[in-house]
Amino acid sequence: MLLTAAFFWLFAIVTILSAIAVVTARNPVHSVLFLILAFVNAAGLFLLLGAEFLAMILVVVYVGAVAVLFLFVVMMLDVDFAELKKGMMATQPGLLVVGLAVAAVVVIELVMVMGGWLHLAQPLAVGGVPLSPGVSNTQALGLVLYTRYFYLFQAAGFVLLTAMIGAIVLTLRHKPEVKRQSIEEQNARTRSGAIEIVKVRSRTGVEGA
């Protein structure tokens, strides 16, 4: 129990510190690396809760795919490091004040919500199905994802399809000068269409034939 608590505090503190570092780091590449650190620690928190499937998905999808993609994008962007090095206070003090004010409001709200939650008068309505022993996380998700949550699963699929269509519509450009491979054309090629036998006379070249 003590060990769990110790790990909880470790993961929680590192998550929060690295989240702060994401916003405050001067170098965008460092920001993304801190983001990865925050994701890994959040995965640790999920593990402590017994949600090992979510933890692994977080590492595989967010750290493995999304954050690495972010890293590529940040490295490819033309970021003006000199401008960034000046810091927010020098360039946009107004924005910083607004951001801090919003953060303060949200923190105050969170504290109030926590207070309200600790002294909740009525018991919580319990939703969902408790896990039966011997059923792993992944198995439990698999049992309901395609049956009970069939509808939501399909709707989520449509959301992803829309994102894909949108990305293609807005960014794909067919350039006429780019030569593309056409498999049909390749397959339809025959010897008679592709080869021409030319009798070359001496000193005239191919044109002269």
């Binding site: 709200e109 109030m112 919500v113 207070g115 309200g116 939650w117 909740l120 008068a121 009525q122 919580l124 309505a125 319990v126 939703g127 009970r148 949550y149 069939f150 509808y151 939501l152 399909q154 709707a155 989520a156 449509f158 959301v159 399809l161 829309t162 994102a163 269509i165 949108g166 293609i168 519509v169 807005l170």
Partner: protein, 478 residues
């Protein structure tokens, strides 16, 4: 667990749209030449029409299906009918425009069908996850079609602005949903209603505020309206039509459904939010539109104001109030489609124009269009006996009966101020010296314009069907 066939029978329009969108996508990918819209738009209109007809498949019974995530009731069917009508109208108006502007890619009708599917899922949502998925499906398609004219910097700006602010509002909505789940312990609207009785905990109230803020963004209520004028002006006009008609229907429907079914016992908590945003929206809609010269920007402020008027009915928090909102939205849909049909008729020597000044002296050149547009503008202003007056009447009287006098008085005052810019358009059309003549509009655009002004003028003589349908729809929520 309900049988699959039963669930399917109660979500037939959604199934038709889902399968239809996928079929159209495949047709476009494999059959359309150079990605041009071949007959995809026409087929999309047919699919939306079939979905509309299927709404009348079973008018009597209500059902909760798909493990409690989806509800099929009279309220849902009414709002789905409006959303589908808005989508069909926007697509019909888009045919000519997209071809002339050379942005007639086949993805456009596909995205419209997917967005409409999202709206139907949103309108029928019965838990927070279904709400979020429906909202995202709708919004994601809207972000893309806002920037559909991708070589036009204004359209790209509109898309980017809408996307960034939309993502922020989705974040607020999700944060609110998490707070509500944290205090109520359930995500279904019925469960939340059971958990939130008496004096609600502070966490639930914060959740409610964030949730309504997220939805207010989609309805473009003040103070979450900043994106509206820029996006309405920058996006291609048929897309703006779609935003102002169908998308508004879905957002208002889910806002009404969630406050009425998930928070019926905490009316004072949400009523003050609705009253606050309603008053601000009416004021901004009335005053900010006065100085506009671009008619699409003017319509943006007009739509902000009209959402404020519709919310007056919701603030009454009873059956009559919901009925008022439904009637308001139906009439607003007709007026919006008509107004945008008129904007799409504004074309001088092949170029679409958007300035109010271009309408000068329209009555002498095209008396029919001037008359239709004048009827629509007077109706938007709420002048009796046109439909817009009755819309305001049905939305305001429940609020007065519920004792919300200040709200109703401010609403009438805002409506009086708003009269100014609607009447100014009529004045420019009828009394100013003629500007350059417009090109001949396509039959589809003229047809939509004529139909909507006909409905607006004739509503007073035959209001029965709409009023009784709205009453039945409102009843199913209580």
């Amino acid at each position: 667990m309900t049988p699959f066939s039963f669930a399917l029978a109660h979500s037939l329009p959604e199934a038709v749209l889902a399968i239809g969108a996928l079929t159209l996508l495949m047709l476009g990918v494999f059959r359309a030449k150079d990605g041009r819209d071949w007959i995809i738009s026409e087929l999309a209109i047919v699919i939306l029409g079939i979905a509309f007809i299927l709404l009348f498949f079973d008018l009597k019974s209500n059902a909760v299906i798909w493990s409690g995530s989806f509800v099929d009731d009279a309220f849902g069917r009414f709002m789905k009918g409006l959303a589908l009508a808005g989508s069909i109208g926007a697509l019909v108006l888009s045919l000519d425009f997209m071809r002339r502007e050379k942005i007639d890619l086949f993805e456009f009708p596909v995205l419209i069908v997917i967005a409409t599917l999202g709206m139907l899922l949103l309108i029928s949502a019965r838990d927070l996850i279904a709400l979020y998925l429906g909202l995202e499906l709708m919004s994601l398609s809207l972000y893309v079609i806002a920037a559909f004219d991708r070589d036009n910097p204004r359209a790209s700006e509109a898309g980017l602005k809408y996307f960034a602010l939309g993502a922020l509002s989705s974040g607020m909505l999700l944060y609110g949903a998490s707070l509500i789940y944290g205090t109520a312990g359930t995500i279904t609207f019925d469960g939340i209603a059971k958990a939130m009785t008496g004096v609600p905990s502070i966490g639930a109230v914060f959740g409610l505020v964030f949730l309504l803020s997220g939805l207010a963004f989609k309805m473009s209520l003040v103070p979450f309206h900043m994106w509206t004028p820029d996006v309405y002006e920058g996006a291609p006009t048929p897309v703006t039509t779609f935003f102002a008609s169908a998308a508004k229907m879905a957002a208002v429907a889910i806002a009404v459904r969630i406050v009425m079914t998930a928070f019926p016992h905490v009316v004072p908590q949400w009523r003050q939010i609705i009253v606050f945003t309603s008053i601000l929206s009416m004021a901004v809609g009335a005053f900010a539109a006065i100085g506009q010269t671009n008619i699409k920007r003017l319509m943006a402020y007009s739509s902000i104001g009209h959402m404020g008027f519709a919310m007056v009915g919701l603030a009454a928090a009873n059956e009559a109030g919901v009925q008022g909102v439904l009637i308001y939205m139906a009439i607003y849909l007709v007026m919006t489609l008509g107004a945008f049909a008129a904007i799409l008729s504004m074309r001088i020597t092949g170029t679409y124009v958007e300035n109010i000044g271009d309408l000068a002296g329209l009555s002498q050149r095209n008396g029919f269009m001037a008359f239709c547009l004048a009827a629509i503008m007077l109706s938007l202003a709420g002048i009796p006996p046109l439909a817009g007056f009755w819309a305001k009447f049905y939305a305001f009287s429940p609020a007065v009966n519920a004792g919300l006098y200040p709200l109703a008085v401010l609403g009438v005052l805002a409506s009086t101020v708003a009269c100014f810019y609607y009447l100014r358009i009529c004045k420019i059309m009828y009394f100013d010296d003629p500007a350059k003549p417009f090109d001949r509009a396509s039959p589809a655009v003229t047809g939509v314009l004529a139909l909507s002004s006909l409905l607006i003028v004739l509503f007073s003589f035959w209001p029965g069907p709409l009023v009784s349908a709205a009453a039945a729809a409102a009843k199913s929520l209580f």
